[in-house]
């Protein structure tokens, strides 16, 4: 494998660091929301280390916090993480190495590491970008979760006063936004929102979110 030139490394490191910093308020919020949703300090911190996918963590904790069922929280999180499967397959050709190494770095398959890796042309640089972004986000995500969980453990009052509960829908909107320029994604998103909205009064918390996946069939049919 050819070595990665220093300028490329610098570019990758800068990108990785800024993308990891962007995740930090999220991590702080997750720590706070985790505690506010009734999770213990250990559970909140373990979620970030063990699940390590922002949107699925928020989804699961949001469903738990509104009194939702275990099955609803797990399936909503897993459906949201179906993209991890696609990311892993996308990254697989560049992740050569012994089985134990591939198994270990698989935990770093996230939006950010996939984004940084796939913007590089050379396989060695892609691998480097995957590891740099994955490790940077892992460190800052978990660090900020711990900080958020400890600092905001006083709970709901601080979250309401600072408007922290609005950061979750805003973050989801921020993740959704780039997809909205594509008509098939836009159609699926709008249908998903309508399904979720319409089912809320009639289904247990979280089930509406899982049911919204049905909107995908609309976009795939064409």
């Amino acid at each position: 494998m050819s070595p990665v030139p220093p300028p490329v490394r610098r570019r990758i490191l800068l990108r990785s660091l800024s993308i990891a910093l962007a995740a930090t308020p999220f991590g702080l919020t997750f720590g706070a929301i985790g505690r506010a949703s009734g999770l213990s300090l250990f559970e909140t911190i373990a979620f970030s280390a063990f699940v390590f996918t922002g949107s699925a963590q928020f989804a699961a904790v949001a469903i738990l916090g509104t009194g939702g069922a275990i099955a609803a929280a797990v399936s909503a999180g897993l459906l949201l993480n179906l993209r991890s499967l696609a990311f892993g397959i996308l990254l697989a050709p560049d992740l050569r190495g012994p089985l134990w190494w591939r198994a270990l770095v698989s935990q770093l398959v996230i939006d950010e590491s996939t984004a940084v890796a796939t913007t590089e042309a050379e396989s060695a640089a892609r691998r480097w970008g995957f590891l740099a972004a994955g490790l940077a986000v892992f460190a800052l995500w978990n660090g900020s979760t711990i900080l958020g969980a400890v600092l905001f453990s006083t709970g709901g009052d601080v979250i309401l006063r600072w408007g922290l509960d609005a950061t979750i829908p805003a973050a989801f909107l921020g993740l959704l936004w780039p997809r909205m320029s594509e008509p098939s994604h836009r159609r699926v998103a709008l249908t998903g929102a309508v399904i979720a909205f319409a089912l809320t009064p009639f289904t247990p918390p979280g089930v509406n979110v899982v049911a919204a996946i049905g909107a995908v069939l609309l976009g795939a049919r064409r």
Binding site: I89, A170, L173, T200
Partner: protein, 102 residues
């Protein structure tokens, strides 16, 4: 074990399986087209549904409060191409401001 611990373990294992399937098992081969198409579209539907449930649902009921102002402010910020972090801060600030006015 609490519900949260059960969710943590199941979601953690399931997510890891999804992440690791490609690197560990498949190597260089690509997904069948129809599966990758569904997996590609799924986040759009789910993120939209999550926006609804994290904005307008409290204790399994539809509620409309200051979070909506925050979400609208976030949409405006995104429209103006604000960075992700700024969008989140603006949403929190708009929501906090709306609550302080009441």
């Amino acid at each position: 074990m609490t519900d949260a611990t059960v969710v943590l373990v199941l979601l953690g294992l399931g997510t890891y399986a999804l992440k690791a399937a490609g690197p560990v098992l498949i190597g260089g081969r690509a997904l069948p087209v129809w599966i990758s198409r569904l997996a590609d579209l799924a986040p759009a539907a789910l993120l939209a549904a999550l926006i609804v449930s994290s904005t307008a649902v409290t204790n399994a009921e539809l509620t409309f409060d200051a979070r909506i102002v925050g979400l609208i402010a976030a949409g405006v910020a995104l429209r103006l191409k604000a960075p992700f972090v700024v969008v989140i801060v603006i949403a929190a600030a708009a929501t906090a401001l709306t609550r302080s006015l009441r």
